[in-house]
Subunit: 142 residues, 4 copies
Amino acid sequence: MDPQNNTPAMETTERVMFFDTDAGGVVHNIAYLRFIETNRSFLAEKLGWKLGEMMDLQQCPVVVRTEIDYRRPARLWDRLIVRGELEKFDHARFWCAFTIRRETDNELLINCRQMLVVVKLPGMKVMRLPPYWETDFGHLKS
Amino acid sequence: MDPQNNTPAMETTERVMFFDTDAGGVVHNIAYLRFIETNRSFLAEKLGWKLGEMMDLQQCPVVVRTEIDYRRPARLWDRLIVRGELEKFDHARFWCAFTIRRETDNELLINCRQMLVVVKLPGMKVMRLPPYWETDFGHLKS
Amino acid sequence: MDPQNNTPAMETTERVMFFDTDAGGVVHNIAYLRFIETNRSFLAEKLGWKLGEMMDLQQCPVVVRTEIDYRRPARLWDRLIVRGELEKFDHARFWCAFTIRRETDNELLINCRQMLVVVKLPGMKVMRLPPYWETDFGHLKS
Amino acid sequence: MDPQNNTPAMETTERVMFFDTDAGGVVHNIAYLRFIETNRSFLAEKLGWKLGEMMDLQQCPVVVRTEIDYRRPARLWDRLIVRGELEKFDHARFWCAFTIRRETDNELLINCRQMLVVVKLPGMKVMRLPPYWETDFGHLKS
């Protein structure tokens, strides 16, 4: 079995709007983090958290660290491909890795890694990750 | 011929993300205007302006008035249907009308109207609307 | 007594950042609504709602309609003066009026009116406005 | 002479608005990056770039990497203190370090580092940093 096939991954697409750009004529650095959150929210579904149930369950993955490299700028009306995947995890923390590429030429624009934990609301106590991750995504355990 | 068939219209969909919501537990009032801008940007293509060419052409439709009614709140992870259409136009101004509905039950959440003009950048001088609008969308001339 | 002196009003200032602008080189139309919300949040304090207590009280003013006119564009690093005041109210609804001016020449950039109601969370049931408004701001009762 | 006194630094304050929060009841992770950009924009003035002149000069500092650690959450209406300073620089790149603390108890909420370069618009060619930095901020040269 190819362990890669078990790696939870997600691809989403974005179209750059005026509200994503700034007076420098390119996409504003903060806007990419919305593109990444959208991808991560769909990826979270594959990892067992449906955003629509989170407010009832009162448990929620939260970002505790973001590292993002801005390699090349995207521009108004560009089509962007966002790819995210579970990179690794331990007892309570997991890392997701993201890239954003321009669709027309597959140019790499953005690299990003985020570390997350799952918290219990409203106290925000950190929870253990589900035991089935070790079975299903064992090749990513660190 | 049914003039309605000539009315430029666009339907787009949105999925409500955490960054669209606020501590009240519902979608923040400003976020709906991003959903509407996305719809309007695709509608603009049908009206002859491609966002990707705007920065080269140096002409751009700009919103000069927004009216928005918040009827019911959308919530995290809701699927929303945004519908926009050209409502009417005169020599230099045009009005677009938008609705946002929840996909699951078609409930009307938002009504919005925006008045726009097309400006020449960078001076932002207002331009006349293209003459072919009177031919193609004459039933919307006010 | 001059009733105008009793009109709850608030002045706030903003400095235009890159994230407020778009590729058209001016402030994006959505950004002004953040400036207005900031002003309205301080105005709400004068009207008896402290944002910091809202989540505990579970009652919250919500915008049900916005009308905004974009008269002239603001640009990067402009200093803006936002003025908001209670315009009128009835049993359950109130209207606030806002202007945004450029500080250097007092040029009027934005006119905005918002209609609000106060809701009880999480059901979002509309509440009556506090009785003391009729005593204190009676000249604004409609 | 204490070289620390020569370190360009800036302190700005923020008040948490509804649009900064999300349905989790706390400040959304993206909102902190606006607080940091505001601080960095004032810090940039001390480093010789006035945002108001950038569009004319056609040169502009751009963020090429962000690292941000989310230690504790801020909440609606919190007063936040953002501190930023020039951390180090080489020929073309410089690093700024930021903290965000809650004003009431000085609790550290956010640590952030950003690497920037200065680019010439519209081609976005990277420029050398001004020679006077070596004289004025020599203790930060790496």
